[in-house]
């Protein structure tokens, strides 16, 4: 029920903000896929959780995965982010850094921006789910820290991701 409400609110937001923008390849833009057009509405909080707070490693969240050269959140990844949102709602003092990563293909500098947009897309969705934008920071590692050092499609799939680092 909650999920449906989110979908509706997203759809409404998209109508409000997207200005009927259409992208090529839009046939696979699900309702949830285009929530990335919301990126850009919420300035990032200052400070640096990673250096100011204590890292919590006892709680682990699932890694969110992405398609090649995309920062669109796939329907398969929604539940992972909803679990993070549920934790953040229940733990008001927790702070989160969404860490964006890319596979090794493409320019390192562009990949830094792409990784940042992946992290921002996840952050935007968490904000849509009611988490305070002041509680979520983003950090892009571009292609610099692969989870799998291999050079094949399977490694690349593992490396296009957003990981969550939790702090308090």
């Amino acid at each position: 029920m909650f999920r449906i409400a989110v979908i509706i609110s997203l759809a409404v937001s998209v109508c409000l903000f997207s200005g009927c923008r259409s992208r090529r390849g839009s046939q696979d833009d699900g309702v949830l896929g285009i929530n990335t057009t919301l990126i850009g509405d919420s300035p990032l909080p200052g400070g640096d959780f990673a250096s100011e707070l204590t890292r919590i490693t006892s709680v682990r969240f699932e890694t969110v995965r992405f398609a090649y050269d995309s920062f669109k959140i796939a329907p398969s990844e929604i539940r992972k982010i909803e679990k993070v949102a549920a934790y953040m709602r229940a733990n008001r003092t927790a702070r989160l850094v969404a860490e964006g990563h890319c596979d090794e293909r493409g320019s390192k500098e562009y990949n830094l921006s792409l990784g940042e947009n992946r992290a921002l897309a996840v952050r935007a969705y968490l904000v849509e789910l009611g988490i305070s934008s002041a509680h979520i920071q983003t950090k892009s590692y571009g292609e610099e820290q692969p989870a799998d050092p291999g050079h094949n499609e399977s490694a690349w799939r593992q490396n296009r991701r957003v990981e969550f680092a939790l702090y308090r």
């Binding site: 509405d41 990032l44 320019s107």
Partner: protein
């Protein structure tokens, strides 16, 4: 083998001209001149280093072929001698017909023999060909050895290779200040991607940009008065300019839901080229540095990234063509893209030499990356990096 798409016809011309025509031809700047260096005497280790460095520099300039003794239209005479820890050298260049192009003396500590040879090479290139040489320039790059990533710098001939940082932290995209003495780059050594300026002269480092989120891809305007970079502080990666100290911020792009990256200035400082994926894939755009409308300049290839702008106004970038990344040169005045490379390797992160002729870039094959010098007039590519490691993101110094 590289496709010599930009090869000029000059190379064949030079070897065919008669001595009587030599003066006109060598002053035209087109094609190679044959020069005989055998009349430069060298003594001591530093003297020999001076001469061998000079010879290699003249070859790397792209403007000279070293002749066999007694051959060639140009003759260099002089000496390079080491004595008591010092070197003194003199070099003059004349044509066989007797025209004197240059005559200079060089002296200093023997350990500066290479630097003096670079100066002598640049003096000869400028006197004979009427263009600025590149022998005294340097190249900064990122090196990844084991798990360590750091900045390294070397001379344009690959010599004098030195490690600049000792952070063992992710670092990216070094870019020279126009003074040729310091470099802006992105480092994670304090945890987040921030932009720093590091002085190679004084070995000091200062933080320039540390906004929340991404701070990356900094590039100095030609007069050094502004810095362009990508920041995500307002919600997604956009291009901004700022003062060199990180103040007086001005936002250039407003593209909600798209990534921008890799800004670089036009030689007149009035436009900025950058990468944006607003079309659904990364492409190269040009926009006035004062803001306003942008226009897409890359038209072929699924992805076009990492542009650089030469001093004489040509853009180069890395273009995904089929399965590989190739270098493409565009003269915005003429509007036609010319593909420089086509041999199955990936060519990325190109950076122009100040001569507007040579390009330094990374070349990756079998997931191993080295830094190469390319010549847009057709000389063979030259590998710059020789020690083990992954070498990439090179930037050629402006002087």
């Amino acid at each position: 083998m590289k496709r010599l798409a930009l090869t000029l016809i000059g190379l064949a011309l030079v070897s065919a001209v008669s001595p009587a025509a030599d003066i006109d031809i060598v002053k035209s700047g087109a094609g190679k001149s044959h020069i005989d260096l055998s009349a430069i005497t060298a003594s001591g280790k530093a003297g020999a280093l001076f001469k061998s460095t000079l010879e290699n520099d003249l070859k790397l300039s792209g403007w000279f072929t070293i002749s066999a003794p007694g051959k060639g239209l140009l003759v260099a005479r002089g000496s390079a001698a080491e004595s008591g820890g010092r070197i003194s050298a003199s070099v003059s260049v004349t044509s066989r017909a007797g025209k004197r192009y240059v005559s200079e003396r060089y002296g200093g500590s023997a350990e500066n023999a290479r630097r003096m040879a670079h100066q002598a090479a640049d003096d000869i290139v400028e006197a004979v060909k009427g263009v600025k040489g590149i022998a005294s320039t340097r190249i900064v790059m990122v090196g990844s050895r084991g798990t360590k990533k750091d900045l390294y710098v070397c001379d344009a001939d690959g010599g004098n290779f030195m490690r600049v940082t000792r952070d063992d932290a992710v670092c990216l995209s070094p870019s020279w200040h126009p003074d040729g003495k310091s470099v802006a780059y992105t480092s994670y050594y304090q945890g987040s991607p921030h932009v720093y300026r590091i002085s190679l002269e004084h070995k000091t480092r200062g933080r320039i940009s540390a906004f929340p989120g991404l701070n990356a891809g900094a590039s100095y305007s030609p007069d050094g008065a502004r810095l362009a970079l990508a920041l995500s502080k307002d919600g997604n990666p956009e291009i901004y300019t700022m003062s060199p100290g990180g103040k007086n911020l001005k936002r250039l792009t407003v593209t909600r839901g798209a990534s921008e990256a890799s800004p670089v200035w036009a030689p007149d400082g009035r436009s900025i080229a950058y990468v944006s994926d607003r079309s659904g894939a990364p492409q190269v755009y040009v926009q006035s540095a004062a803001g306003g409308r942008d226009r897409r300049v890359s038209n072929i290839g699924r992805e076009n990234v990492a542009p650089d702008w030469s001093r004489d106004g040509k853009l180069v970038w890395s273009s995904r063509r089929g399965g590989s990344y190739e270098l493409v040169v565009l003269d915005p005045q003429k509007g036609r893209e010319i593909q420089l490379t086509d041999d199955g390797f990936d060519y990325e992160d190109p950076s122009w030499a100040p001569d507007g002729r040579h390009i330094v870039c990374s070349r990756t094959g079998g997931y191993h990356s080295e830094v190469y010098l390319l010549d847009t007039l057709g000389d063979r590519p030259i590998r710059l990096t020789t020690i083990s490691g992954e070498w990439y993101s090179p930037a050629w110094s402006p002087k």
